[in-house]
């Protein structure tokens, strides 16, 4: 039961960790100072949330581990984030679209997780949702600005939507850890808000004068530890310090 809860926590926290890392890559490289700052702040929020989750997981674990071990010292197959969040920062259209598709999900997830029977999970959700509501506004605003902007911005963000769309379905697939956590009242059944998610996303895309893709083919694997070719590079970058200087502290 405890091991399952740890696995369930990773299923939630790894998404924020890997997305936070992706966003962190943009620090100092954003297209404008305001956006650079916003993206760095969102990254920081996500890392803060991850720390709460990982501290809890480390505390539950029988092994003598810390939050840093969980964050930095696992192998690629042990990360269970969805493929969506590991997709690269191809251009600003992709950065915003990836964020938008994730924020819309993240918000609904945390809304439900606030009712978790596990007091710590509920407390983390209550804390995090306040921050994520700002992320959600930011990414939705930019979807509209890019979609309803120039011909060029519209085309490029539409391209990103089309490319990333195939990764959205994985958000709603239940792992064994999910199923057990749901049965125990700790976990959230994400399939219950799948319809709401796609409706919310479609409404914003429409307002942004963007087309909702109709493709039926979806990618999956991240939740089972099977990642895209981008993940290895991301981890090499993220784990470099801890691997090179084991136990290094700030």
């Amino acid at each position: 039961m405890k091991d399952n809860l740890i696995q369930y926590i990773l299923g939630i926290a790894d998404n924020s960790l890997i997305l936070g890392q992706r966003l962190g890559e943009l620090t100092g490289h954003g297209p404008a100072p305001e956006i650079d700052i916003a993206i760095t702040n969102i990254s920081l929020d996500l890392f803060g949330q991850v720390r709460s989750y990982f501290q809890y997981a480390a505390q539950l674990s029988d092994k003598d581990i810390t939050e840093d071990d969980i964050a930095f010292l696992r192998t690629e197959r042990e990360y269970v984030n969805v493929l969506l969040v590991e997709q690269p920062n191809t251009d600003f259209g992709y950065v915003i679209t990836r964020q938008f598709l994730f924020d819309q999900f993240h918000y609904l997830l945390l809304s439900a997780l606030q009712q978790s029977t596990d007091a710590t999970m509920a407390a983390i959700a209550k804390k995090s949702i306040k921050e994520v509501s700002y992320h959600k506004r930011f990414s939705a605003d930019w979807m509209k600005r890019l979609g309803d902007g120039t011909k060029e911005s519209n085309q490029r963000v539409q391209q990103a939507v089309n490319d990333l769309w195939g990764y959205t379905n994985e958000l709603f697939m239940l792992t064994d850890a999910d199923k057990q956590a749901i049965a125990e009242g700790i976990g959230v059944d994400v399939t219950l808000f799948k319809k709401e998610y796609y409706e919310n996303v479609a409404a914003i895309l429409e307002e942004a004068t963007l087309e909702v893709p109709t493709q039926a083919f979806f990618q999956k694997g991240g939740k089972e530890g099977v990642h895209t070719e981008h993940m290895g590079y991301l981890l090499a970058d993220m784990q470099y310090m801890q691997r090179t200087y084991p136990g290094m502290k700030w």
């Binding site: 305001e34 956006i35 700052i37 916003a38 702040n41 969102i42 920081l44 929020d45 996500l46 890392f47 803060g48 949330q49 720390r51 709460s52 007091a119 710590t120 509920a122 407390a123 983390i124 209550k126 804390k127 995090s128 306040k130 921050e131 700002y134 506004r137 930011f138 605003d141």
Partner: protein, 166 residues
């Protein structure tokens, strides 16, 4: 059981008042509302602090500063971080709001006004330099996650607005 109630021993207040938010040095952590509990139990001060934002890098420093301030006053302290109930900008005291303003940061509006200002573009945030409401938002995120970046169109100065969190 969680509670919004703060529980701080009278004798500890002057000590804790000296500890400030490292990012806003004029603001005492007590006026910031991050200290939820500080009571003496068996000669050890048990302190609970709550983060303003999850990623707030200041929390570790605040914890150390509290321990140091209490040690200086002859107390041993045990500081722990609590997440629930989650911090809200309503916990900033009137003195805290004054300190923010004097420091050049516009204090948070009410939740409704905040939404209108940040989303609807309504001119409700007043410039902390000249007091004019003729201001515009430059970015929903400012120098730190808890602030938004504004500009005063009257005196042309940019400034931070402390976003409402309820």
């Amino acid at each position: 059981m969680t509670t919004d109630q703060v529980n701080i021993d009278e004798e500890l207040i002057p000590i804790l008042r000296q500890v400030s938010d490292p990012e806003i040095p004029v603001l005492s952590i007590l006026d910031m509302g991050v200290v939820r509990k500080a009571i003496v139990v068996d000669e050890v001060v048990e302190v609970s602090i709550t983060p303003t934002y999850s990623g707030c890098p200041a929390m570790d420093v605040i914890g150390e500063d509290i321990t140091a301030a209490l040690a200086h006053a002859g107390y041993q302290a045990k500081v722990n971080l609590v997440l629930s109930p989650a911090w809200t900008t309503d916990w900033i005291t009137p003195e805290g709001r004054k300190a923010l303003l004097a420091y050049g940061i516009a204090p948070p509006l009410t939740a409704t006004a905040d939404k209108k200002a940040l989303l609807g573009g309504e001119q409700l945030v007043k410039c902390p330099q000249c007091g004019s409401a003729n201001t515009e938002m430059l970015s929903q995120f400012g120098s730190t996650a808890c602030k938004a970046l504004f500009k005063c169109k009257e005196c042309q100065e940019p400034f931070d607005y402390f976003k409402c969190l309820t």
